[in-house]
Amino acid sequence: MRCLIRLLSYKSKGILAQQDREFQGEQLTIGRATGQDLYLADLRVALEHAKVTASGAGQFLIQSKVPSGIRHNEELVQSVLLAVGDRVRIGDCQIIVAPPEAGYELVLIVEQTRRADGKAPSVDAGSRNKKRFRFGVRAWSWTLFLLIVGFALVLPISGFTLQPVGRFLRTWIPAGSDSMWDSGTLTPGHQYFGSDCNTCHRSAFTSVRNTACLECHQGQPHHVELNLFNLTSLNERRCASCHKEHDGLQALIPSDPDLCLDCHRHIKDIAASSRSLDIGPDFADEHPQFRATLITNIDGRDQSERLSINPGETLKERSNLFFPHHTHLDPRGQLSPKGRVRLLCASCHVPEPGGRGMEPVRFEQHCHSCHKLTFDAQEPRREVPHGNTRLALDSLNVYFANRALKGDYQELGTPPVVRRRPGQKLSVPEMQEALAWASHKAEDVGRELLEFRACAICHAVQMKGPDLSNWDVAPVRIAQQWYPKARFNHARHKTMACVDCHPASRSESSEDVLVEGIQTCRECHAGPGAKNKLESTCISCHGFHIAQKYTFDGKRRVAFAEKTRTVRADNKKDLK
């Protein structure tokens, strides 16, 4: 091989000396011994330290002949193939492989790193001369910073700006989508659209608007009737200011009394015309006495009133019904067509399918088995229909006319034409006589039913003047709920006995309002933070969205409007 050795040495005052030498031979020996092709004087070089040989195809191999090896690009090796630019260090001398030139196969630049003062450099100086690439603190910091800003901020915001990008991110890179921002799982009812944040969050840096909520919760009732109370503080309220998502059901449906008491502590300050009473947070002693809604008759006019139920005092309502509870609940039982029957509350009061309220008591189901509407001993099973006075009187007319024309009506004092044998033909005057009897009879029986029997047993009857056609059964006005402003659930009070709240067994009149006041509820219920009692807040009994005519977005409620129309139509039909 033909090799050029270029010796560089630093003289005093930093002057660089260069000396070129040519070498030709099989192997280039490097060492401290005399006779080495490349003589290195440093003590850290062995006598015969290394050799360079050609290994074909223009490549050269450097091999260490001693166990301490050589440093090739700062790596300790025993042998290595040389490439242009390589640095080999033996002792204090550095050999750089330069590009081949002027017919030399190998050009080695040999550089003495010995200092000018003659002292050897420190042992570790050589290992510091090349700074390696390190992923340092700064690089780590920047990488993490950019990664987090990219994934947690830039990507989600771009997904918000460009919807297709948002959809792509949510499907394929959730860690870079706005789901990273989700501060907590949605409540079960909202989870079906939970993956699309923009169902609710529609514009950036803006809190969720009511329009987003009302898209699904269409027709959600307002708190008040807007025609009566048009309160800005309520109308401008955001749904989300009370109903907070991402924080469990307790935050979605808050039960904090303060939300209500903001207004209801001094309600007159907010709505001067309100008939609500001021209230405090503690049910145990700051809730006013309950007021029952009932029909009273003042100055001959029936009207609805809300009256306080004070302990020891029984309110009277005008129900137009005569029904003494204590007689019906007599423990000895009642005489009935089927024998003696003992009635219980549940014999007449049946819970609604949901169990919250009670089904209305119906004559046909609950009264009729004892209270028969019979009217004629000749036909003891025949009854007048219930529920409509006109129909009942008509049915009497039809019945007696039929009997009169048929004949064979065997009652004392009845004219012969009516008592005649059946099948006997009647002349026109006889027919008229029979029908006249029938008409009288029907009116007598009708009058008797309305005034003394059947109807009058239970109902108040309005007997306007002598003409029977003007008589009628007074409309029954039993309150379906005495406390319509509260949401009492019978099913959740199953452990109580009926009489615990409804003192029916002592009641002699159906006018009695058979419901207890607040003191009975307070035996078990108390306000927030109560010990040994059931903690009850406003929404335990009261709803917020209770307006009947208006929805939360200020529109007239459809359901209510339709209902009003139907009722009006029914009334018109009745009048006809």
């Binding site: 001693v66 042992v123 290992s127 993490l144 800003v149 918000f160 501060s183 907590g184």
Partner: protein, 284 residues
């Protein structure tokens, strides 16, 4: 009299930090929101703002300690505050989130903060423990001085070894090559140090020492035995010095390694904090 940064101005920052913790815990205990406690109650926003400002201030320590001409308090005071207020941050941030965690950027910020604080605790431990040991280990000698002494010893060894023979010289060369302090120490400092010390021990105790002992036992001529004895003495001195240098580097490594976690993660925390705050108000 030297005052530890922990005791700076009679534990001024410890008191401040305990005060903050007490206030936050009291506030949290007395606060009774209508919803479960979280960052979105008024207390949550208050603690969040406080925590966020604390994080920014704690991060500013990295800037302040490099500003040698700053007159904004002593760095030791800043460090004292950094340690104590950083510890208080753990409580404040936990109460801010109302113990609500999830797979989201908010908890990411929390976890990063917790790791940064935990690594900081190790840092305090290291700064209290190792400087004393470092000083004891150095015994008044600078590392540079030790290194140049080692180089000198190496040189003397090589001179003697060269006199003894080529093979001894070669072994000495190998020994020197092996005990050089590489720049790879930082790659994996702890096992690297262990390995370095182990290799050094092996090399010095087994091959070199045994070889020398063999030479002694084989009854060489008096002058040569004397040379070998001198060489052994030199190696023993060198071993002691190398051990001290290695110890020095180990202590330095132990005092620095936690910063590789503390600093990048605190910058990552800054990113997560920015994302946390912006995202919360972006989807308000």
């Amino acid at each position: 009299m030297h005052e530890s940064f922990l005791a700076y101005r009679r534990f001024q920052y410890l008191k401040l930090s305990l005060g903050l913790i007490l206030l936050s815990v009291l506030g949290y205990a007395l606060h009774d929101p209508s919803e479960p406690p979280s960052g979105s109650t008024w207390l949550g926003y208050t603690l969040g703002t406080l925590g966020g400002l604390l994080i920014l201030w704690l991060l500013w320590f990295g800037v302040r300690k490099r500003q040698y001409h700053s007159r904004l308090g002593q760095v030791s005071g800043w460090l004292s505050g950094h340690v104590y207020l950083g510890s208080a941050l753990l409580v404040i941030a936990t109460l801010h989130c109302g113990f609500q965690f999830g797979w989201n950027v908010h908890t990411l910020a929390y976890v990063l903060m917790a790791v940064v604080i935990a690594s900081g605790f190790y840092g305090v431990f290291a700064y209290l423990r190792y400087p004393t040991r470092l000083t004891q280990n150095r015994g008044g000698l600078q590392v540079e001085a030790m290194l140049s002494e080692i180089a000198d010893l190496d040189r003397q060894c090589l001179v003697i070894a060269d006199h003894i023979g080529d093979k001894v010289h070669q072994i000495m060369l190998r020994s020197i090559e092996r005990t050089s302090f590489g720049g790879s120490l930082w790659k994996n400092p702890l096992p690297g140090i262990e390995k370095g010390v182990e290799e050094l021990n092996n090399e010095l105790n087994q091959s070199t020492v045994f070889f020398m002992a063999d030479q002694l036992a084989s009854g060489q001529s008096g002058a040569r035995a004397e040379q070998v004895r001198r060489l052994l003495d030199l190696i023993t001195s060198k071993k002691a010095l190398v051990t001290r240098v290695q110890e020095d580097r180990k202590y330095h490594a132990l005092m620095k390694v936690w910063l590789y976690l503390h600093v990048p993660l605190s910058i990552a925390l800054l990113a997560a904090l920015i994302a946390h705050v912006i995202s919360v108000f972006f989807y308000w």
